[in-house]
């Protein structure tokens, strides 16, 4: 293996030989001269000032604040993981010491980034247009034609005056000489800007004191410019364009950022199936019908965007999207096909392309990169395999990361073979010797290598950079340069001379301008998930309440061994199976045995996440639905959702069932669930989204009450048991106190039915739920010209009329053989069926049941002669 000095002299020699040969060129020397100096010796003044403040704070307090910040990030959902497969989402690790960049340093970086964005945009225009760079020999054709990001259907997609590149992101390394170097360019959904913002918000909350000594640029300006830019991209309807954020969905590791951006920019967050192309335009399915979409901020990989013309197996895209763009009826940012830039092999051609296209030298150099598509560069890379980072020009599945210096002989041979087989698919990149930044990741302040992701958006004819970015530190330079995530993220402060200016996303109205309120369209998918969030929240609550009643009874029986307690416990257990629909449970096969010792079945209903009907599975359903609409929920409400997911993970053995611990957890859960609904009641505007959440809740509450009453009140009990049973039902419905106040201590079925079924003013009664449903359904948007009422309106009046026509006394009529109350049973069954039909009607009306897309192909060719 060569020593580092040998590599350096080899690189130098290589450069000298290639100086006048055109083609690839390599900026060099990422500040290696500074290797002997002690870290921190030449620390800039602002870093010293910061460290002084931090020292005053002390490591202990710093660590406490760091933990708090970490908790905030987690609670806000800044997760890098997926909600589906794991209930404990992992968040970014947070380093509370910001990366500080001085005003003058930043000015140069920004200028360099803007120049680079302009250059890359011109390259894209050429690639998808005349391809003169190929004709002139400035760009080898393999770099374009063999790159997966270059999509033929996107050739000529945009007219020449439109920008392909509206968003751009570059990863920078700071060399020991203090200069910034680019080691990666991103054009296809550049991510991280949302995380940068989130870091800043958490930083200002947990470390407000640190900001006092510095004038730090705010980040909001960037997002404001981005939103203006997106609005400008609209080709029709420019006054009030509809902009949506297109995400692959909650399974995507960056879904947090997608929903965060959507919420911050005030745009609906949508998935491919929420959009449809009709009449050459893109439409969003909303609860009030189709709404035309003018601009899409797309967070999908380019090749997944349109299954008709791009990858046919994509389930995420919108069939016909490219044609709608060609027709000029919709625009995306970035333009589909921009991923062709995400090619590290371009790095070495940028200096000559800058001269050709801009007539300028590159302001920001790229880290030296050798593209193996040319023989001399290939030779060089093969000779120095273990001193360079090897990157493929586009992601290749199953390719291990190449971490220089750590490849053993057999790995080296594999890499060599891989490169020789397809040299044009690989580059070698110099492993940069990074400057370090003060970090707090292991309980004390230490120097760590650091890289910075920067974000730009187009503005008018040029670009502007976010004054800041997402910095990452890690123990290991190579890992930092190779991996996209991992390590610790930190806020980035760009210093300014001006005092802070409050900039936010609000536009200033002209003095005489009257702003029309604009109700954003509620996408059908969001509507559906709000409805289900409401239903699952209520279902969780009902299950939790019943579990709690059972635990109380269980303890009573354990203490007093009263046979009547035993009987009513068994009735409650059977009711639990009915209410949660977890048959056979306590009623079907094996029910006897479970009634004798209910503990393991109870445990399963409390915590088996994969058992539908269990408390934990309902809570997960709640969490998943809420996650999809988190951009619509009040921030604190989301925090509760997250807390519930974190907390409700009972790890008890069944012997503890009667001990009270489970009881306490359930009490805590019930408080959190009512806090969730309380927050929504207090904070959400009475618009469609709130209505759907409430409709889901009321409908579920009605259904749960019906199931409970059917299981507990329909069978006849002997008088000694009856009172106990009635009391439990009332307690379970939180109604014991109200009942006592109203009817004193006479426990009678008709009065109980009066309260729990018929009292339209009592929030726990069935009639109340139905009245609420009727009122809220009337407020839902109606799409059509109303000549007759919608099925949902008809159904709810029907079900309410039936209930109003019932007389509690009549319902409490015993059957001939004195074993049940048949009229009550009949009414409850009828109400249940009608409510289930209502739920279906709502789905059909507002949630547009999505049809399964399928590919149509030509028949197989089989022509012989």
């Amino acid at each position: 293996m060569l020593s580092e000095n040998d590599v350096n002299s080899d690189i130098k020699q290589f450069q000298e030989q290639r100086q006048h040969s055109g083609g690839q060129s390599f900026a060099r020397e990422l500040g290696r001269f500074d290797q002997t100096s002690e870290p921190g010796q030449s620390r800039p003044a602002h870093d010293n000032q910061l460290l002084q403040t931090l020292n005053k704070l002390g490591n202990k307090r710093l660590d406490k604040r760091r933990k708090e910040a970490q908790r905030l990030l987690r609670e806000n959902g800044a997760t890098f993981n997926d909600f589906e497969t794991s209930d404990t989402s992992r968040s970014w690790q947070f380093d509370p010491i910001p990366l500080i960049i001085g005003r003058e340093d930043w000015a140069q970086v920004e200028q360099g980034l803007v120049q680079r964005a302009e250059l890359l945009n011109l390259i894209l225009h050429d690639m998808y247009g005349p391809r003169e760079l190929l004709a002139k020999g400035l760009l080898p054709p393999e770099l374009v034609y063999t790159h997966k990001g270059f999509l033929w259907p996107c050739v000529g997609l945009l007219p020449p005056e439109e920008k392909y590149l509206n968003l751009y992101s570059a990863n920078l390394a700071k060399g020991k000489d203090g200069r910034f170097w680019v080691f990666e360019d991103f054009a296809q959904p550049p991510f991280g800007s949302g995380y940068a913002l989130e870091n800043r918000i958490v930083m200002t909350r947990s470390f407000a004191r640190l900001f006092q000594d510095f004038q730090v640029h705010r980040l909001a300006m960037y997002f404001r410019t981005l939103r203006n830019r997106l609005a400008q991209l609209a080709r029709h309807n420019r006054a009030e364009p509809t902009i949506v954020v297109l995400t692959p969905g909650p399974e995507h590791p960056l879904y947090f950022e997608h929903s965060y951006l959507a919420s911050y920019l005030g745009c609906p967050l949508v998935q491919g199936a929420d959009l449809v192309v009709r009449n050459g335009c893109v439409w969003l399915k909303t609860v009030s019908g189709l709404r035309q979409v003018d601009v899409i901020l797309q967070r999908l990989a380019d090749d997944l965007c349109d299954p008709l013309e791009l990858r046919a197996d994509s389930l995420f895209g919108v069939p016909g999207l490219l044609e709608a763009i060609r027709l000029g009826n919709c625009a995306t940012a970035n333009a589909i096909g921009s991923g062709a830039l995400q090619n590290p092999a371009l790095l070495s051609f940028l200096p000559s392309l800058a001269k050709e296209l801009l007539g300028e030298e590159l302001i920001l150099p790229s880290v030296a990169t050798w593209w193996c598509g040319q023989p001399r560069e290939r030779e060089f890379v093969l000779q120095h395999l273990n001193q360079l980072i090897i990157r493929p020009i586009h992601p290749l599945p199953g390719l291990p990361a190449s971490i220089p210096g750590r490849l053993n002989e057999s790995q080296l041979a594999e890499w060599r073979q891989r490169i020789i087989a397809n040299p044009h698919l690989f580059v070698g990149q110099e492993i940069s010797s990074l400057t370090t930044a003060p970090s707090f990741v292991s309980g004390q302040i230490e120097e760590r290598p650091c890289v910075l992701s920067t974000y730009l958006t187009a503005k008018d004819d040029s670009y502007v950079a976010m004054s800041g970015g997402l910095a990452r530190v890690d123990d290991d330079e190579a890992k930092l340069l190779v991996a996209q995530s991992g390590g610790y993220s930190k806020d980035t402060w760009v210093l300014t001379a001006e005092p802070k200016k409050e900039v936010n996303l609000w536009r200033l109205a002209q003095p005489d301008q009257l702003i029309e309120p604009l109700l954003g369209p509620l996408p059908s998918r969001a509507a559906e998930n709000l409805y289900w969030a409401g239903r699952y929240a209520e279902r969780s609550e009902a299950t939790a309440r019943l579990l709690r009643s059972i635990l109380i009874k269980f303890r009573e029986y354990s203490e007093f061994r009263d046979p009547d307690d035993r009987l009513s416990l068994e009735h409650l257990l059977r009711a639990l199976t009915h209410v949660t629909v977890t048959y056979p449970g306590f009623v079907g096969e094996g029910g006897r045995k479970k009634l004798a010792d209910p503990r393991s079945e109870l445990m399963s209903l409390a915590r088996d996440v994969d058992r539908p009907g269990s408390l934990r599975s309902s809570l997960r359903g709640f969490g998943q639905a809420a996650y999809i609409v988190r951009d619509l929920l009040p921030t604190d409400a989301w925090r509760i959702v997250d807390n519930i997911q974190q907390n409700w993970n009972p790890r008890f053995s069944i012997t503890q069932i009667g001990s009270g611990r489970l009881h306490d957890s359930i009490n805590q859960l019930l408080v959190q669930l009512s806090a969730f609904s309380g927050l929504n009641n207090d904070n959400m505007a009475r618009e469609t989204d709130w209505l759907l959440l409430k409709i889901g809740r009321s409908l579920e509450r009605a259904l749960n009450l019906i199931a409970l009453l059917r299981a507990t009140l329909v069978p006849y009990f002997k008088p000694s048991m009856e009172a106990q049973m009635f009391e439990t039902v009332l307690a379970n419905s939180n109604s014991l106190i109200t009942y006592r106040r109203r009817y004193r201590s006479f426990m009678q079925l008709p009065t109980i039915l009066e309260l729990l079924l018929c009292d339209e003013n009592y929030p726990r009664s069935l009639a109340y739920q139905l009245r609420q449903l009727e009122r809220m359904i009337a407020e839902l948007p109606a799409e059509r010209e109303q000549s007759q009422a919608d099925p949902d309106t008809l159904l709810i009046s029907e079900v309410l009329a039936t209930l109003r026509g019932s007389e509690p006394k009549a319902l409490a009529q015993l059957s001939r053989n004195n074993d049940c109350y048949p009229l009550l049973e009949e009414l409850l069954t009828q109400q249940k069926d009608q409510l289930e039909r209502l739920s279906e009607a709502l789905m059909n009306l507002y949630f547009s049941p999505s049809l399964v897309p399928q590919q149509l192909g030509s028949a197989r060719l089989d022509r012989a002669s």
């Binding site: 013309e309 049809l851 590919q855 149509l856 030509s858 002669s865």
Partner: protein, 296 residues
Amino acid sequence: MRFRVTHITAYEYKDAVALCRNQAYLLPRQTPWQHCLISTLEIDPQPVDLRERLDPFGNRVSHFALQHAHKKLTVTAKSEIKIKTDPERFAAANRNSWDQLIPQLRSNKSPEILAALPFLYDSPLAGSSSALSDYARPSFPNGRPLADAAMDLMSRIYQDFTYQPGVTTVATPLSQVLKTRQGVCQDFAHLGVACLRSLGLPARYVSGYIETLPPPGQPRLVGADASHAWFSVFTGDAGWLDFDPTNNQLIADQHVTVAWGRDFDDVSPLRGVALGGGEHSVQVSVDVERVSEMPT
């Protein structure tokens, strides 16, 4: 030679399709040797958003959509084509040896060569490999004139491979076709394209039709034909030369060219995405009818 071609594709669905968008490569392009006199696309039920444009390779591509519930979709492409190939084209392509052409692809930036480069590199269905290069190599000894070499490759594919419908699908990789030595015209066309690319020559996949003549004494069956495919190789100054490995012939006046691309996926005759529909069946019929040349 003049032909009237009718290409009918009929889909039937078990359930209604609510919305369906399609892309068709069914209208024949113009070529130096082929003139498309008439071409129409009839779609039943009545489509919306029907629009024709040229793709980056100069093919005619049609987009259309059906926005109302339907259980059947019939697409009928009718065209009338006049073909007159240049009898000298083979000789012209033979002036260069194949290995003389390869360095020119890199150094010469003529518009013809630049336009051929997109077909030099691997595409999803026609990628190069050392196995393919080994297979092709005996036809390409150093210094052999290009047209002779390509002709030889075509004949070897014709002799070595059995035409066998039903053993391959669109997804069958070439490595398997090379192993089993069976397939249909599409596989043989891809095989030729990928062999040529493995040697460093630009090659394209051509989609079209061929006139079939009934066995002596039998009437011609209307609609019994099918779409066809073959490969084409870039020969430098003499342009592109097309070979039909399924029939072992240089394409001549019986081959109607519809479109060309890097492989089948670029020029699939009809492609669509339907919402709903459940199971579907598809029926294709093609009729290539020779018509008398009217004095004009």
